[in-house]
Amino acid sequence: MKRMVNCPLTLLLAVVLVAIGGCSKSEQAPSTSVQAPSTPSPATRAADEDIKCEALGDFANCAVQKSTLPQYSPYVEQNFPNRVYWGDTHNHTSFSFDAGFGNPLGPEVAYRFARGEEVTSSQGVRAKLSRSLDFLVVSDHAEFIGLPDLLRANDPELLKNATAARWAKMLHAGGEEGTKAAIEAVLAIFKRNEVFKDPKVTRSIWEKVTSIATQYNDPGHFTAFNGFEWTSAPGPGNNLHRVVIFRDGAQRANQVLPFSAFDSENPEDLWKYLAGYEQKTGGQVLAIPHNGNLSNGMMFALADLSGNPLTRQYAENRARWEPLAEVTQTKGDSETHPHLSPDDEFANFERWDFGNMMNPVVPKQPDMLQYEYARSALKLGLKLEKQLGANPYKFGMIGSTDTHTSLSTVDEDNFYGKMPTSEPSPERWKEVFLLNADKTPAAAAWQVQAAGLVAVWARENTRDALFDSMKRKEVYASTGPRITVRVFAGWDFNAGDLDRPDFAAQGYKRGVPMGGTLAKSPTSAAPTILIRALRDPEGANLDRVQIIKGWLDGKDELHERIFDVAVSDGRKIGSEGRCKKSVGSTVDIPNATYTNAIGAPLLSSSWKDPDFNPQERAFYYIRVIQIPTPRWTAYDQKRFGIKMPDYVPMTVTERVYTSPVWYSPAQ
């Protein structure tokens, strides 16, 4: 592994400018990788014989193939996903250089907490989830992986290194000293200054990581994935981080070492590493980018890291290795931004739009936003697909926490913060994370969002089943509540299908689920989308179900539009497809309570696109909005008997975003 790219800020700026200017309108042959609802994806590897129908997402065909035997039971053929599993793909423990400096809790504690046990937090507070998670990815930073633990143990070899020795001292001091050491470590990574490297040490830590995952992986009950985070932040400070998740156990995962930003900060080199892993081991792996909102225009740019316009090869590789994007987490929400979606009254949500992750931050320019937020990226993907013949930004959406406390918490009334220093205390809300150049706070702890979770439609709680669902994007993002939502898009659905007891069987047979692609309609008629949503059984009612449509018109212009398709409390949806009447609020801020007197526990809809044009590429994703509930800041205010300033929000409108269904006109 070698250092591949060394690209200073000026060059990068030039790259972005060239990329924006170079967004040509050249017409190339449109995608050939479109898939009809019932044909297996050509992208899957034909050589892989043990690949299952589930992995292809082709449940209807599987059933047909098996139907030669006499039949009686309606259940034998039900091999499609039948329930939602909830998890977090983004959890940092003491093995991460930045969490580890203040957090002594290793992956064992992360797993124990996630599966529902009581643990003691790094700050000595008892902690327990209201409901266990079904799976967890411990995703410690590959850079300096395990370093804090080695420093803590005063590893003699490591302490020969002057920087390491100094960090060890700061680490042992704890508190602010520990945090300072963490910042130094982060900056060292941003500056690509690998102060410490020893493959032997990395190997021993990686094998420890995988052995702990083996210990806690309990097929059928709790899934512990092998994974790590690749912490690329060129610029420096522009977030291009990816979480890498292995489908496989230790035997395969141990054949490689985590790929770090010191090896390369170019995502294309990460993809080479992932391809190399699959070739070497016969296993499977994927990567999930996160926090586009802190990338200063780089996460979904129109150019590669060196500034060259994207190619078809780039687009195919990205789509191959990065089927998902993490769009909501503690460091804010990246679905869309008011500047990009001025007509979206729910867009101004948990915003972190001050700049990147340098300290002081490099301020955000409005032009950067379109290359950072998921909705805009999905739109850009349609245009790129037309130009290149492949869509690099054809991703499903997930949420995860990015916690650095080892504790995955997303409930507003049970939130343990993002960093060890932001665990529950009367002062935590005012802690400052990042500064502007003029030393005013850019990001403070009250802005941290208690989010998010991944919901995975699968049949069983195993590494294989969950990974395969992630790969085919049959997953969705939640900011916390366990709202169940199921989506099917097809050409011959009607409203009656919503109520069928075999709703899911019909859905798979006659349509595609979230994450799928509809090929050209047989009749040029518009597709129908069936949606059913259930509120969190222990949570708040639902306000509305929305379809967000993005499309590329005949003049190569991109558009987006929101349709309300089911609303609570007998409100009306106007002819323009919107319900402008707010659901209201029952939140009692001083007492941090709400009631389910408004909203609905169940919402469903059968919706036909009124503006469908069979020539135009499009995507549809579902957003389910919950009624307002108290934010974690309100619970803190109540429990600690404090008063926060008016600029600190006290209510939150939680939501889920499904992976889109795409429409691609076949040729």
Binding site: R131, K169, E176, P501
Partner: protein, 310 residues
């Protein structure tokens, strides 16, 4: 104010004399240094033994994969002597005393020593079994239930829902046990047939209250309606398994983790209790000052070290 006895007044006046104080402090310092110089690390003689040189060389080999040459050995010894002198001088000057890093590190070393000692002897089977018996509730497997359910949606049925539930319950009770119940009632995106599932699995789908009610049902007949987060359900519990205590072999690692962590806490507390017996501690707290410290800090706290976020 109460009057003080004469002999106590005299005593007080006497100890306020600067000369007396000076002599007393001097005597204490003399005792202190006499004691410290005996302990070796604070004397003015440094002896570097062959054993120490070997240890330095071994560390060198560990890093460079070759033995040090003569010059390198000399450098290491010089460096060791410098470190030793610096440590002693700094200690003499009391530089270690107010240093929060050193204090915490020393405390940590002491606690780690207890911890290492703790982990050195793994818990015996008898110890684990005793712990399991004492904390049976913590390790008890959840009760499980398998059931079928028919849903009634209040948003659709409104005022007739209770009557509808009654009619449907009678119909279900009269029907074949194996009948397909899926077309009955209102659609709900939750299983109409739940295989044997734990309480928390049922709660995860239907809510806690529903799960608690279903676990109370008598198996083998239709019952209800039971309320969930979504509406009313008629439920046929087909099988129930009581929560039972797993054997030690089934959950040994879990019990072991708990035993070790409990033992660690106990031994560290015991160490401090033991030390407290040897120390005489006086806390001279001023009531008003305590109140001032414990009230929440004013807003607009000065920003010192910005915190990293990823």
């Amino acid at each position: 104010m109460t009057t003080m006895p004469d002999h106590r007044k005299k005593w007080r006046r006497w100890i306020r004399e600067p000369l007396v104080q000076f002599v007393a402090i001097g005597f204490l310092l003399f005792l202190f240094y006499a004691w410290r110089s005996d302990t070796g690390t604070n004397s003015y003689s440094i002896v570097v033994t062959q054993g120490q040189i070997d240890a330095l060389a071994a560390r060198f080999v560990g890093i460079w994969k070759r033995p040090p040459n003569e010059q390198e050995v000399k450098y290491m010894i010089d460096d060791f002597v410098r470190e030793e002198m610096a440590t002693r001088e700094a200690t003499r000057l009391g530089l270690d005393r107010d240093d929060v890093i050193i204090r915490r590190r020393l405390r940590q070393k002491l606690e780690f020593a207890v911890e290492d000692n703790n982990n050195a002897s793994p818990p015996t089977d008898a110890e684990l079994q005793a712990y399991l018996d004492q904390h049976a509730e913590k390790f008890r497997a959840e009760p499980q239930v398998a059931f079928r359910q028919v849903f009634l949606n209040p948003a659709r049925r409104r005022s007739t829902i209770t009557q509808d539930a009654k009619v449907l319950l009678a119909r279900l009770s009269a029907s074949e046990v194996a009948a397909d119940v899926r077309p009955l009632g209102d659609p709900l995106m939750l299983p109409s047939e739940m295989p044997l599932s734990s309480r928390s699995e049922v709660a995860g789908l239907f809510g806690n209250e529903f799960a608690a009610e279903v676990l109370k049902l008598k198996p083998g007949r239709w019952s209800g309606p039971i309320e969930s987060a979504y509406g009313l359900h008629l439920v046929f519990a087909s099988e129930e398994v009581q929560g039972r205590l797993p054997s030690l072999t089934q959950i040994r690692p879990l019990v072991e983790e708990d035993v070790l962590s409990e033992r660690r806490d106990r031994e560290i507390n015991a160490m401090y209790d033991h030390l407290l017996e040897r120390y005489h501690v006086t806390v001279k707290a001023d009531a008003n000052a305590v109140a001032a410290h414990s009230s929440s800090q004013p807003a607009g706290k000065t920003i010192t070290a910005p915190k990293d976020i990823d």
